[in-house]
């Protein structure tokens, strides 16, 4: 290498160093820490009714994780017990998170099972449509979130949700609902209800990845969603769902 080439190269090195050094600290952090990209994911949940044992661990864990008021009636996820009697009457009651259900008179019961429910994270969410201040919105990864600073607590969304998935938090006085534990997803963890489910009745996955557990779940089972006639396109998929469930 002669002196002329050396100086040429030196010029390149110095100018590129200047450009890199000129990047702000923020831009550096973004370049180095590209761990989570919202556009690369699209989340959904699968629930196998035949596996749910109605232990209520999901309800309890959800309350702990998301600081949901501990008193009954405020739930981000809940488990309903369906009892269909021989005279075809259907009764539904929500499990209290502190109390397992009691024993039924068996000869009157035709079918009985548990149905875990949560926000269906609809693709066409009615709650987003009705919010007068734009506080609730859909993220790129398909989760419906509520901006607690923007929400005025008018309860339109609670009325509009066909699945009854929202409630007014008595402490913050704003609407609250399941977020698929969004703060856990970005860290690569599972939603807490999926984490603690002892029977793996809940399956969580990314619909943009073929290898995700949800992909397998939807291939291996016949899938049903709640209230399909409303065209909300729920992203919570049920396997072995009974026709009486709505």
């Amino acid at each position: 290498m002669d002196r002329r080439d050396f100086l040429k190269h030196l010029g390149w090195v110095i100018s590129s160093g200047g450009i890199l050094g000129g990047l702000s600290a923020d831009a550096w952090a973004k370049m180095l820490n590209k761990t989570y990209d919202t556009t690369k994911h699209y989340y959904g949940m699968g629930i196998d009714i035949d596996k749910c044992i109605g232990c209520g661990r999901c309800m309890q864990a959800c309350k702990t994780e998301n600081a949901v008021p501990a008193v009954p009636y405020y739930f981000r996820t809940w488990v309903e017990r369906y009892v269909i009697k021989t005279d075809r009457t259907v009764s539904v009651n929500t499990l209290n998170s502190d109390e397992p259900g009691d024993v039924l008179v068996e000869k009157d019961v035709l079918r009985s099972f548990f149905v875990p429910k949560l926000c269906n994270q609809c693709d066409h969410p009615p709650c987003v449509q009705v919010c007068p201040v734009g506080a609730t919105f859909k993220t790129d990864d398909g989760v419906i979130l509520v901006d607690s600073k923007r929400c005025i607590g008018c309860r339109y969304c609670i009325q509009a949700c066909p699945y009854g998935a929202r409630y007014l938090n008595p402490e913050t006085r704003v609407a609250d609902k399941c977020t698929f534990c969004y703060h856990r997803l970005v860290k690569g963890l599972l939603p807490v209800c999926v984490e603690v489910c002892p029977k793996q009745a809940r399956v969580f996955g990314d619909m943009k990845s073929i290898a995700s557990p949800l992909g397998r779940f939807t291939r291996m089972n016949k899938i049903h969603v709640l209230k399909p006639s409303l065209n909300t396109d729920p992203k919570v998929y049920y396997a072995n769902l009974d026709g009486e469930v709505n």
Binding site: K51, I53, G54, D102, V109, F114, H183, V196, C197
Partner: protein, 248 residues
């Protein structure tokens, strides 16, 4: 220009000053005091997502437990509780992960905790191990007999009766007491893990019952009928329930 200002009545100037001050105040409020995310929905959503992401996690996830605890996860991997996350029983443990010496996770030792899953409830799927806490060794903590990390029953279950106890009890009092379940039913191995989707067989031919109950069968002591004339097209168990006393 100077003349123009001089010509203006003083009141008009004052009004103009007030007006200009008002415009300036509104401009400052809009431009500097109102945060940008209140004006731009995309920014508002981004800041809302940031706040959502910044929330603290409580449950650390099962993978992290194995980094320090070696023994228990190894035992658990081979047992019936293999799919159970540590925190399903031990509770939220993120604080314990951050400060392992001072914060300890809970460890439920009372009977009522196991009962959340294992108390008999007719809505639970058949095949899931359930007991009646009032009759199953009352007041004795579950962990005296069962290791929660590898919860084998202390005695091997009589395979079918472990889940189908009601049928087993009825059959024990019936004429079929000495006939094993496997004589009439073939249960695929997978039936034990997914009891509702993989179902055992039932006798699907009349001739099966006819082996003992047909007129002129070699079996002594069993009531017999003329299979050719009795019951036509029906399979026997559509009318006769084979597990109950005497049958009907």
């Amino acid at each position: 220009m100077k003349d123009f200002f001089k010509k203006l009545p003083e009141q008009a100037v004052r009004v103009a000053v007030v007006f200009l001050v008002f415009v300036a105040v509104v401009f400052v409020i809009r431009q500097f005091i109102i945060p940008p995310e209140m004006k731009e929905p995309a920014l508002q959503q981004a800041s809302s997502m940031e706040r959502e992401v910044a929330k603290e996690i409580q449950y650390a996830g099962a993978q992290i437990c194995e980094q320090c605890h070696e023994k228990e996860p190894q035992i658990k991997k081979i047992g019936y509780h293999r799919d159970l996350s540590c925190e399903s029983c031990h509770g939220a443990a993120q604080k314990h992960v951050e400060n392992p010496t001072e914060v300890k996770p809970t460890s439920p030792k009372k009977r009522d905790y196991c009962a959340y899953c294992h108390k008999y409830n007719s809505s639970r799927p058949t095949g899931f191990p359930q007991i009646n806490p009032d009759t199953h060794n009352p007041r004795k903590p579950c962990i005296t007999c069962h290791n929660p990390h590898n919860p084998k029953p202390p005695t091997t279950p009589r395979s079918c009766a472990a889940c189908h106890a009601q049928i087993e009890r009825a059959k024990a009092a019936s004429y079929h007491a000495l006939i094993a379940c496997s004589v009439c039913h073939t249960a695929p191995e997978k039936h034990k893990t997914s009891p509702r989707t993989v179902i055992p067989t039932k006798p699907d031919k009349r001739e099966f019952c006819g082996k003992c109950h047909d007129k002129g069968s070699p079996r002594k002591g069993a009531p017999t009928v003329d299979m050719a004339a009795h019951g036509e097209k029906y399979v026997c168990w559509q009318c006769h329930y084979p597990h109950t006393l005497g049958g009907i």
